[in-house]
Each structure stands twice: as structure tokens, then as C-alpha cells.
Symmetry: C2
Subunit: 357 residues, 2 copies
């Protein structure tokens, strides 16, 4: 099975390599010797770092991944490490880990000496299908998630299914939740493809995984190229995210994996779209529910409430924090049909009550 | 006397307003009510904040200006204050202070929600002639100055000579040092203009000041528009800066005002250019020395050594930290003639010894 190459036509353009041995392609992207720094998730590095052949001796900072890595203090540690390694402006940061590592490393690279190159080696399904592609970087602030960041396109992304084998079950679900969202944004063909792949995904075969990742990356590459800085069409990729952030905010960040919250957020967005008369065919809700079950994902707040405290008041407070809209005017992505989405700002109080009640 | 409008043709373009009442133009730049945040130098605000009519009630953070403001921790405070004020992506940060305030506020604006607008109201001569124009933002890291930042063009810059009246003498000299550099980079006409203005500058008349600031902004606007992200021609604006950073590093940051160090750096760059056979007319050195004297600026390391410890070893160590070049290969801007500069990487050890000895 060969490595798929998907071009993201931003300016400059870059390639996402998907498939077994994708990590070997790192060396085909014009790295300058002695000008590389590796930022790695310590666990991912201990399990799979050897796959990054030839970079064992490069300066490296290993940190604990997850949302707790995305702080201003940790950003400072990375920037200090880059300086201490004497990296010039011609250098490249290589991230090796999940979305928190690419978010943090991408931000550090975009700031160091006002911007050096970054390449991402995503080691979680969530990062492979979503976080590592598109150039968004971020850290969290005291008052909210991802509130500080940049848009800094990587010079290359290398998604190897081999590194996903050791993924904990909640990370797996998180990736599938974002994949579900991406399939809906991608359109009918993407959704059908996910429906076909879904019964096989639990077996975690490299071929099935690579097909899933490639599908998602293709959709994301198309949308990001159209709108790199999220002025318009790219906002569709936030489908389910306004609700998801409210769920994560309410349950406490880290309690519910991001993509799992997104899966429920997608259901809420579909229900809202139906209630507002935007959804063309109500059958899509059932279709998505079925897919969520096959993928082992929750499809409603009720599914989460058994284990998490998600009171309507807390969810409403979370919605008010939405980064995308104006103060107390959260922005929602609504669905007409797969691949055809609409932006809505604010939502009737009574509808919100019934969705979150 | 009317306000001069100088357009910086970046993408998008913006205006720099120079002259008495320039601050009134803030309201002509499409500010959205309730979407403004002011980051102010506390001293400048107490003296001149009232000139920013109509923004008294906007959320505001006042901090102590100077290099100590440019830390990661202070950046975090600004970002937290923006969040606490509930600023949306349609908001604008207005900076009111010297270069450290525009550097810090510009960086915070470029990061908050991945980028909101910023406008600068520079209140020091250095910031008016240089720092507030061109979009460079930065904070200092443990190991060096301006090592983390972005390029984030402001939406407008408002340079009013009235706010310069209370400037301490060392801030005054600092601005004149950068103005001298800009005149040399600008070309023969700019240098002649500075020579004409220089005897009058010590009188600090608004007309003379506005003429000086407008000259410098015009030169900088032309060069920044040509090369916003400093890939090539913009590097000429670093004339004198590799030496200046070494001087500041060696004396301890803050001990010598930046622009004063730049004035001496310009002399060292001219001497290096002469020694390397690049300078077309050795008379330029004498011409610049004369100008430095009229402006009350030092023209050699000897002028600084009376009050500062500037051992050759310390200066060499400072040069090795240069952000622009590769490790231990500092980049120097050399001079053929006014307006015609060349980039050099590294320098003969014996030449450096004789320049710094």
C-alpha cells in the first residue's frame, strides 16, 4: 500500500502524506541538517519516535501532551528551548504528538524569530484527521480554550497509521467524532464513504485508517485552501463546535474528549437545523445517529449525562464564551444537507432550552 | 498646520497620520463602538490620554512601559484582559505609548482569537519614527531581545508631536538615533533633509518634529510595502542594529537607550563598510559624525565607554546572539552610499577586533 499525497493549496502549498511509512517522507521536504528541533509528546515518542529515522540526535523537548500542555508557560518553555538550541530563521520545528503538541509547536514556530517552518507528525486520530492540517495554532487562556493563537500553515504533514495502534480508547472515539463532522461538511460522497468504512474501523486496520484519514484530509484541504484564515467557508468546519465547547466547558476541560463532545454537538446542530426549518431532509438525523452507534459515539446529551454533570445553565454559560461570535451571540453552523451548511448567529432562547434541557 | 497622511501599501493598506491633532483621526478609521480596548503606558496616559477623545470609558489596561513590559507574563496579562473585556473578533486594540507598548499590544492583538485589529498611538519619538510603523511585534525571551513575535500590520498609526513634549532626554536621543539610521537608508534626499532639520530639532517645535517623523515614516512605508515580512529589502532597516544589539546586550538591556546604541551601530557599520571597500565615499563617515554631534548622539564606542562597560569579549558574545543570521554568523547591513545598502553575513575576526577594540 502506497503513501497517499494530498496537496493543500495554500500560499505556499504543502503536502499531507497519509499511509504506512508516511514518516519517511519527512526527509523529502528539504530539511536543513542541524536546523531541526523536535517537540514531542513523551509517551508517543517513547512508543513511536524511532519511526522518525535520522532525527534521533536532533535537539528535542519531550512534554506531556493533552490540553494541559497548551499554556502560556509551556509556550515559554518551548521558545526558550528553541533559543537555547541556537535555531536560525532557516530552521524547522517538527512536532510529534497529538493536537495539543501541533497546536503548541505550531504557535511556537510561528512566533520564534517572527516565524520559522513547522512540520507535523500527528500521532492521534484526532490530529491526523483534523488538528494537524490547516495551520491553526493555539494555547488556552485562563478564561477559555484556544483563545490565543495564529494561522501558520505547516510545511508538511505526515500521518502514519502505525502510530495509532497504541491509542487509548477515548482518543480513538475523539478522532472518530471529528471524522464524522468532517464527513458531513465534505458532502454526500464523504458521508457515504464513512458509512462504508465505519463497520471496519473498530478493527483498526492500517488500510481502513488510511482511507479514513485521507478522506478527511481531502475535505479539509479543499476548504482550507479556499479560505485559509477562516473569513468565510472555513467556518463550516466548526460544525458541532459551538455546542461541543459548551459541553467541554460545562463538564470541565479534559473530562470529555473533544471529538466525543463534537459528535454530540453535531447532533444538536442537526436538531437545531431541523427545528429552524433549514434541514432539507429529516432522515439525515437518523442516518447520523446510526453512524454514531456504529462508531461507538454518543449521539445526545442524554448519552453523556450518565457520567457528566451537564446542567442546562452550565451549558448556556459555556455557549456565551464562544470565540467565534460576538459577546453573548454565539455562532452556530447549521446544516441544509451534507456539504451544504449555513452560519447562524444567536439562537432563540426557547429553542436552546429545548435542545439543552 | 495640517495633518500629513502617509499610506503604507501593505495588504491591506493603512494610513499613518502625522502632525498636531493626528490623534483625532482615530475615529475616522471605522472603530466599532464597544469593541475597543486601550493598552496604555501609564505615564503617557496620565500626561496625554485626554487627547484620545471619546475613548475615556473604553476598557483599558495601563502598564509600565519600557523593555520590562515585553515579557511573556505581561503578554498573558494583556490577553487575559482582552478576554475579560469580552472582545469579539471584530474588535480593535489601541496602543498608547512607546515602542514596548506597541510591540506588546500588537503581539497580543495578533494572537487574540487568532488576530484582531490594532492601531498605534506612539508617544515617543522612537515609536513615531520607527517602532509603530511596519507591523513588527515582539516580546523578549530569557536568552534575548525580540526573539518572539509576529508581523501584524496595524490598521492605522497616529503620531501627534504634542505628546512628545514631556519626553525624557534619553528617549529623545533614542528617537534621533533611529531617525539618523532611517535617513541613511532612505537616501541622499532623506539625509539632506535630516541635516537641514537637525539644528532646529533641539528646540522641539511641532513643525520640525512633524517634518522629521513624516520623512522617516515615508521611507519606512516605502520599504515595508516592498517587503512586509522582511525577506529581502526590508533588512536594510536593520542598519546598525547588529552592532546595537551587541552593545545593548553587553551593557545590560535598558542601560543604553536603543536608538543611542543604533547611532553608534551605524558608525560601526560605516567603518566596516569602508574597511571592506564597499563604501563609495569615505566622506560619508565624517558627514554622519557631524550629524551625530548636532543631534547630541554618540558616534563611537569610545563615547559610550566612559559610562558603560563595553569590553570587546562581551560585544563579540552579543554579536553571536544576532537573531537575523545563522548561529555565530551575524548578519550586517553595509553601506555603499545613502539609500544603497548591502547585506553581509559574518565578518573577518581581525576587522571585528579592530572595530570593537
Amino acid at each position: 500500500m502506497s503513501v497517499r499525497r494530498i496537496e493543500v493549496q495554500t500560499n505556499p502549498a504543502y503536502n499531507v502524506y497519509v499511509g504506512p511509512s508516511a514518516l519517511e517522507k519527512v526527509h523529502e521536504c528539504g530539511l536543513q541538517k542541524d536546523c531541526v528541533f523536535v517537540l514531542a509528546d513523551e509517551k508517543a515518542w517513547s512508543l513511536h519516535g524511532k519511526a522518525l529515522v535520522g532525527l534521533e540526535a536532533a535537539p528535542r523537548l519531550e512534554i506531556t501532551g493533552g490540553e494541559d500542555a497548551k499554556t502560556l508557560a509551556q509556550l515559554g518553555s518551548v521558545l526558550d528551548a528553541l533559543t537555547a538550541s541556537g535555531l536560525s530563521r532557516a530552521s524547522t520545528v517538527i512536532t510529534f504528538g497529538g493536537g495539543s503538541i501541533s497546536d503548541l509547536g505550531g504557535l511556537a514556530a510561528s512566533l520564534y524569530k517572527r516565524g520559522i517552518d513547522v512540520m507535523h507528525c500527528p500521532t492521534t486520530l484526532l490530529a491526523q484527521v483534523d488538528a494537524a492540517v490547516g495551520g491553526k495554532t493555539a494555547i488556552n487562556l485562563k478564561l477559555g480554550k484556544n483563545l490565543a493563537g495564529t494561522v501558520h500553515q505547516p510545511r508538511g504533514v505526515f500521518a502514519d497509521p502505525a502510530v495509532l495502534q497504541s491509542l487509548p480508547v477515548e482518543e480513538w472515539a475523539s478522532g472518530l467524532g471529528e471524522a464524522l463532522k468532517t464527513a458531513l461538511v465534505g458532502g454526500e460522497a464523504s458521508l457515504k464513504s464513512l458509512e462504508m468504512l465505519s463497520p471496519e474501523l473498530t478493527r483498526q486496520q492500517p488500510e481502513t485508517l488510511s482511507a479514513l484519514v485521507a478522506d478527511c484530509v481531502q475535505t479539509k484541504a479543499r476548504i482550507v485552501a479556499e479560505d485559509p484564515s477562516e473569513q468565510g467557508p472555513r467556518r463550516a468546519l466548526n460544525l458541532g463546535h459551538t455546542f461541543a465547547h459548551a459541553i467541554e466547558h460545562c463538564a470541565g476541560y479534559g473530562a470529555i474528549p473533544h471529538g466525543v463532545a463534537v459528535a454530540v454537538g453535531v447532533s444538536l446542530a442537526l436538531e437545531a437545523s431541523a427545528a429552524m426549518g433549514i434541514l432539507e431532509n429529516g432522515g439525515l438525523i437518523e442516518r447520523v445517529n446510526k453512524l454514531q452507534k456504529t462508531l461507538g459515539l454518543p449521539s445526545s446529551l442524554a448519552d453523556l449525562r450518565g457520567r457528566h454533570d451537564l446542567e442546562p445553565e452550565g451549558l448556556l454559560a459555556g455557549l456565551a464564551q464562544d470565540k467565534k461570535g460576538a459577546v453573548n451571540k454565539p455562532e452556530f453552523v447549521l446544516v441544509r444537507k451534507p456539504g451544504d451548511l449555513a452560519l447562524g448567529v444567536g439562537m432563540e432562547g426557547s429553542l436552546l432550552q429545548s435542545l439543552l434541557g
